[in-house]
Amino acid sequence: MFEQGRISSVNSVSLSINGKSFPSLRMRSAPRFRVSCAAKPETVDKVCQIVKKQLALPADTTVTGESKFAALGADSLDTVEIVMGLEEEFGISVEEESAQTISTVQDAADLIEKLIETKSA
């Protein structure tokens, strides 16, 4: 989890120029850098949708894997509502400890897939 965190910040530093992120570029470089499997794009998309809905973001807001919840305007109440929304959507249960480590959409998507995997194991 620590390595994932480091890697995703490397990606966002190199690809986030003037605040724009380049998701397609990021996915191309993913196999080279990732030690463990990143979440599927569909999962990331679903998380983005739930986040956009919870925060009532204008339609033209860019939300991607790199997006930090804090930067999107999520306060603590929004964050727990988002976690609840994710739990319902994916049929999982998120512990407080894990919820605290999430800072980006990608973090959330990765955690969700890990929990789904553990659940079905």
Partner: protein
Amino acid sequence: MFSFVSKRLSLMMMTKVCCFQRNFSSALPPLVPVKLPSKMETHFWYVLPDEVKSESLLSQYSELLSPREKKNLYHMQGDQFKKSALLARVLVRTTIARYQTNCQVNPRSLKFKKTIYGKPEVDWENGDKWCPPPLHFNISHTSSLVACGVTVNVPIGIDVEEKQRRLKNKILAFAKRYFSPDEVKLLTAISDPEIQRQELIKLWTLKEAYVKAVGRGFSAAPFNTFTIRARVVKMGGFHHFDTQHSEASEIVVESSDDPENLTRNWQFALLDLAGSHYAAICIEKENSAGGEAGVPMRLTVWKTIPFVEDERVSGTGAVVPISGLIKQL
């Protein structure tokens, strides 16, 4: 010998930087200094972003931020959110700077760090001759109100929330997921959905303020492991409270994990602030007042536009106590 000399030099340099005159921003007038709260007092400062309209003032505010704060702000989405985030940093920097009565502290020079649990605190990083004030602070903001609470010697946590805040989830579903069984019971008993929603938001702010005061992160005190409730207190007659009922209600916290220890040490106040927000304050009681019931939180509240205007509003209609033992100064 050498280390002593270099320590002296660095202290002198620190003093010079610390007492640096206002040349850094000649456009901004000095901050009105304030005396530190006494050991038994809480200071609460807030800004209403809608009252800060001047673009040039906002741009001067931006200059007070550290490079990292500026970068964080740059990446934020949404103008209103960005503005309140800027004002939150400005409020905490200027508020702390006001309390430095020995020499003028440049709010821009303040450095912040986090405890191992992630709670923000001031990084005084000065020579060992100078003792930093035992000042504790905590901030909270919505897009329409930015607040900073200050105490001396004891930890503080605050949370503010818009009174009109709607949840995306159903109220009881949310409560069942996050609150303690006793709290769920209390909320379920409320038949009016609007009152139920208000009570949930109030409870949320109190629980947040508590977790922030404890300062060990959300996971150290999961919301469903402690119950916050109001308890009626029979008054001895000495203390004068500001609540509207003849019997004061004290807010208490009970932990299902740790029934004895943590919980007797915390004091709460819940306010209706500026007509628009619920504000919860949680401070640790001093040791001497440990088990004693009925001692009010002595509270002073200011509404401010840093460098422009400060207005003490405690005791006015802007600050209406809802519960907790409070004495406004």
